[in-house]
Every structure is written in C-alpha cells, then in structure tokens.
Amino acid sequence: MASNNTYNQPVGIIGAGSFGCAVANILAENVPVIMYARNPEVVDEINYKGSSRGIALSERVKGHGDLEQLAATCEVIFPVVPSGNFREMITKVGPFLKPYHILIHGTKGFVVELPEDQNLEEVKFLRKEEVFTMSELIRRETSVVRIGCLAGPNLAKEINEHQPAATVVASRFDEVIDMGQQLLKSERFRVYGNNDLIGVELCGVLKNIIAIAAGALSGLGYGENTRGLLISRGMVEMIYLGQALGGNVKAFLGLAGVGDLVATCTSRLSRNYSLGFRLAQGETLPHILGSMDEVAEGVNTIKITKRLADNYRVRAPITTMLHQVLYEDLPLEEALQYLMKYPFIQDIDFL
C-alpha cells in the first residue's frame, strides 16, 4: 500500500484563495506543491513574491497556470475553489484526469443541476438527485473514483499562523485517507480519517447555515447563552437534514461536525459568521456580498437547503427563517422570536 512508502511527489492545489493557501502551506511541510491559479498575475505573484493575494506561501509552493500539466505532474490534487466555480473548474481539468488520480477537495457547498428551462430562484422544491456535493460532482464529471474531502475546524487565518489544529480526511477509500494523512500531518496539524464521505461533506456544508445565524445573534448583541442554544439546536437541524440527504449521524458528532460548528459559530474569522453579524447590524445582503472578497458559501447553501427541506418535509426552522430574512425581507428580530416559540418537544431525538 502507498502508505508504506514516503510520498515525495509534487502535490497539486487548484485554487489560490485563503483556504487553498492554508492547505498549500501545510502540504509544503511534507512535499513540493504546485498551485494552479486562473489569473496569470496571481501565478506570477506566487512565483516571484511568494504570496497569493497577500497571503504568504511556503517557498516550496510554485504557481502554475496550466491544468493539463498540473494533472500530468501530480497524482494527488486538492481542489479548493468556491462551489460556484467548482463545476467550471472540474469540467476544465476533467479530460486530463485519469483513474489513478486521487482528488481531495476542500469545498463546503452544494452544486445544483436543473433542467435547462428551470432556474434555482424559480423552483420551489429540489430533489436529492438535483443537488450534488463536490465529491458527487467529481465522480460525475471525471473518471476519478478515489475521492476524498477535507473538513473540520480549519479557519484559514489560524492555520496560516501555525496554530495547532486538526482536520478530517473523509473517503470511502482507506488509501485516500492514508494519503491525506501522510501529506497533511505535521507537529501542529493532526489528521483524522472517516469513511463516511457524504456525511462529512454534509457537515461542512450545513454548518455554514448555522454560522450565519450565530453571527446574526452576536450582531444583535446577544451573548453566550443564546449562542449555546443556537449551536445545540443547529446541530439537531444539521443532523435531520444530513440524514435526509444520505449522511449518517456519527459524522456530525465528530471533528467535522460539532468541532467545525463550534469554531465557525464563535469566530469573526469565519466569512459566514461575519456575514450574519453585518446583516444584524443593518447592512443589506447585496451590500455585504459586494464588499466581501471571498465567497460566503452559506448564502447559497440556505437557498438550496430550504428547497430540499421543503421537499422532504424535514424540520429545519433555522434554515427556513434565515431564508426568509435573506430573500423574503423578514426582519431578523421577528425571525428570532419565531425560533424562540418554535415547538421543539425533545432535546435529543436522533440517537
């Protein structure tokens, strides 16, 4: 098995955003890294200044603008691009990928595929078959089967500051988990494995909804009791949704579930959290989105998850309320009051 050899081939990264840089820096402690960026200026910045959009990179990270060469050189590739660009990226690199490639992605969002005459804004319901996690999309668009994902409390800024942290590599293949562990682990970075790929992906995606809500609560000036309430109820909601979408409960109780949820719900470093915070302070959604330089995945996730929950009749009050706030002009205070009155009967009923 591959884990018996020390892997020292160059590893590829697609995407030069803050999380991409964080992953690149961790990898660079073990192997040479080739980072693909669409924008030639960014490639130059990586190669000549040793940074990407101002984020410092290890000197073992080299920039590259050619996907074909990246695929030919690297057997293991980490795609870390926002879900909105994922399909475009994967169809571009798809023809160069072979079944021997291993892909471990770090994108926490959904991609929707609808018939040509429909669009997401207009449809009321979504079916599971129309919504893909990134691993499902990779499987559909390429011949790669050995697929994994990264999830867990991995706020990019803290990782770049070399603070201790851990991540989960999830895959149906032990081989992929072993590879991920070998490539990512270091003295300040632990790597756990999980075989429930879909479950772990769903954790990463769904927690962004709760993060927005957490930000909003703080923005309204509420304290820790309220946050505790939200996090635990949010957890239950994530589990219900996750089960409906084919994950199992266990993943949600691990590092990628509760671990990541706590981190994103308490930190201003989280984009989704700050989006909620600014919303509560009275800024409008278009204004916030216009001023952020990276995507807050949660916004789109709310839109998609609401339509899934309605279709499968899953109790998802937090998602529903946020949807009304973001897209139906419901005042945040009113949404909160509704949630406080929502008839939860039991604390825990998913175990």
Partner: protein, 564 residues
Amino acid sequence: MSQDPPAIKPKYYPPILPGHREWPVVRLAKNRKDFVSTVVQSAVASILEHTQDHQALIEELELTLFLERNRLRQNPWKVDPEDEEEFWGKIKGQLVHLSQENSEEARQNAQQMLEQIVSRYAEEIAGNFKQSRYRFARTLIIFGFARLLNAARLKGIKSLWSRELDLPDKIQINGEIDQLRALAKLGTVVMVPTHFSNLDSALIGWVIQHLGLPAFIYGAGLNLFNIGIFAYFMNSLGAYKVDRRKKNMVYLETLKTYSTEALKYGCHSLFFPGGTRSRSGMIEKKLKMGLLSTVMEAQRCNFENHPQGEAAKIFVVPVVLNYHFVLEAPGLINQFLEMQGQERYYVENDEFSNSYKIIKFLFKFFTKGSDISVSIGRGMDVMGNYVNDQGISFDQDGNKIDTSDYFKSLGRIQKDDQRDGEYTRMLSERIVSEFHRNNRVFSSHLVAFAAFQILKNRYNKLDLFNFLRIQPDELVIDYAHFLEVCATLRNKIFEMNQQGALHTAEHLKGKIEEVVEHGLYNVGLYHAKRPALRNKQGLIVSQDLNLLYFYHNRLQGYGLEQYI
C-alpha cells in the same frame, strides 16, 4: 402460442474459436491437478494473511470444525462424501492437541491442517470437465430440448422427429450479440444474468453455445449434483460445485480463490450475481459481493502480471432474462413472504430431490414455458465503464480509459483489499443499473403491475402482508379503467424506452386492447390459480394475489407507481 414475430430472425452463429483445444476451460481440465494445487496454495496464503497469528488460525479452524460437524448432523445430503464424518473426526483429534501449544511445530501442524481442509474443499469444488462428454452432452441437450419442444408445441409424439420448430423460435436473443462474440475473443468474459428460475443456467448454457461461444464455467449448487443424471451434465458443461450450506471462512475463501484463478486462466465465467433466484420476482437490487470480488482480484492480478499492457482484460456482460411465466413462482413468492415476515431463519433446502421431479420440471418448463427473451447488455470493464467492440473502455464523455489505472498508485499496480472491496461495490451498483436498463417489458408485466397497483391503492392503510391476505374475490377492477391505466403506463414505459431506461418487447406495440389481452392471456399462463384474468362479466380479477405481486414486481424500481 406466441403472437409475436420473433425479434430477430433465428440466425446461425459459427463458433468463434475453430477447435475446442484452444478453449481455456479445456486447457484447465487437462491440467486439473496442477490447477487445483495452485488454488490450494493461493487460498492457504490468503487465509493465513487474514489470520495473522497462530491463535487466530486455531480459532478459525475450530470454528470451521464446529460448523462442519453441525452441518453433518443437521443437514446431510446424499452427495456428501462417505468419509466426511471420519475426516472431520480426525481433524477434531488433531485440533484438540494443537490448541494447547504455541511452538513452531504446532504452528506448522496447524498450517498443514489448514492445507488438508482447503485441498479437500478445492477437490470438491473443481469441476470434472471432459471435452468428449461436453460434446456429447451438448448435442444431447440441443437435440433433446428442441425435440421436446416440438413434441410439446405441435402436440403429439410424432413431432419429436419434426424439425419444424427450433429453440431460436422460442427464445429470443437480443442486444449486443456481436459485441459479446467479439469480446470473448479479446479477453475473458464474465456473464452476469438475472436469476428467476432453476433452469436459467440451462437456458444460458444453451444461449452460450448457440452464439458460438466456448463453454463458460459456473458455480452450480451442490444439491444439483445429488441427482446422477444432472451431475453428469453439470460436470460435462464446466460447472464447479458450490455448497451453500458451508458458510465457514475457509470454504468461502477456497471457493473465491477457485473462481479468481479460473478467471486468471482465461476461463469465461458465468455468475448469478444475485446469488440465488429472485424470490420476489424483482430485478436483483443487492448483489452478492463474494464472487464479484473475484472479478476485481483476477483483473488486478492480470494487470500486475502483465505490466506491458498485453494483459487479458475482463469484460462484464449483464444479461437479463424475461419470462411471461415462471414455473416456480408460487413457491418463490411464498418463500419471499415468509422471509420478509418473521421467519428469520431459512434452511437451504434441496427442492430437486429426485430425477423424476427434475424431469417433470424440465418437461413442464419446455412444454409450458411461454416466450422467453434473453437480453445481452453492453460489455463493461470491471469498473463498469462501457467498452467498444475492440474492448477499449470509455468514460461517459467518450474519453478512452486505461482500466489498469484504477489499480495504480505511484505509477504501479498496488494490491489494496479495501479498495478492491469498494470497487466491487461500485461494480455491483453498475450491474444493477444495467439490469434495469436492459430489462425487456412484456405485456404480462404491464398488466400485472397495473392490476396490483390499482388494487393496492384502494387499501392504502394496509401493509403488504395484510393486503395480500384479502380474499381475492373481493377485488375486481372495471375493464375500461384498467385499459386506461395500462395505456398511461405504457406511454410512460415507451417514454422511458426512448430515454434508454428500459427496453420493450415488440408485442407491446399496437392497440392497447390487444396488448392487454395478450398480457392477460400470458401472465402466469400455466399456474393453477391465475394472477390476473378477465372474468365472464368482463371484470379484471385475480385468483392469487401473491402471484400477482410476484409478476408485478418485475417493474418495481422504475418509479412507475406514481402514474397509477
């Protein structure tokens, strides 16, 4: 009896290999002794890999002994060798001795004992293929079946000598016949058919020879070898023996190794991936991973042993068999319902207890079985990618794929059992989806599905079991309504056919009244109680809801329920 024109004109397919000598199965039979010893070595090695220390091996042997002695006491068969008691008695004596020690000598003794057991199993499993017998048996079967058929269909013993009707009239083979013939020359073919009737293997055997393909090996239930005449034919046709009573790890490992090694040898193989006949009448949804995993293993070894790319490729060809009438349906569906109910424990029994029953069964099958279709699906590689007639794999976008890449890491083929296990699961999902796609809808399936769903919808509050207990005479369907539902369903089925989700028989076209009549006439034609028919008042009724459920199940899994 049939109102269809045959889908394809009966055609003669010349053998793809001119002589028998080149057949891998013939080569294998010639080297039987060497082959069995290869199997033993390889199986022992893999069992030792699973049981890493001495204690674990002893425990495995003890468990095997326990299970085998249980089997001998509780479920002995005529076909079991006479020295069975003696053999296991001896093992018991030695084992008691061994389990107390942990010396190097004890370790070697334990391994030797394992080897003894594995050799015994391998000898039992290995077929006794004889070329001369194959030719004889084949001629007899072709001649015999054809004549029997004539006698039955043209009524009268004289027609035993008539050549008027032949099997190809009765059995319609359609789908990717030419590709199958091409692939059998290029590499090793693994045929995976759906399984509804005990005579499926005979049917497939006939199809294989009719299409000019060399003999395929396949695992036949040991119970079939209980009967002298059957044993003779089975051995002659390249069958190896599978004993479903033996569920111990040592046996299963030996069986899998046998299959793997035969595939590596280049023997075309036939697996019923559902493992057993579909009790419910549904297309298999869950496949048995055991034998399928040998396909993965053999393919990986082939790639590993021939890194230059000349490795024999293995092609998986799904085959769907369709009947208007399954003789065993009443028994099968009852077993299914029992198993679904509280009966958790189900003993592998031996239905065919004597030659008389067998012959009666055969006669009924060929006299009474109405039309049969055999749909050959597109060939796939072991990862479920379609291959072209040159055996090259393509992904869904039409890009060439090198199948060996799936087994590579760091540029080399690497063994990884967990990965192979995942791949096997993925392959089984692909086979299930190909089964659905290649399923050929008959008029009888349509009427059974419509009738059952209409009736079931009236009793939404009842679960399946309570529903099936309703007295059938309470259940009638108005004919006009029935026609309407059938027409809607048929439109949907044609639509799905356009999208490539399933196939339809020729006879499904035409006026809906005629199609429904054809379906009602044929559905479960020779059962004492008919699953569905039109009574004297012109209403649709069922005489046996269980049977109706069985035939209806053929169209489960397409989401057609919503159109009722």
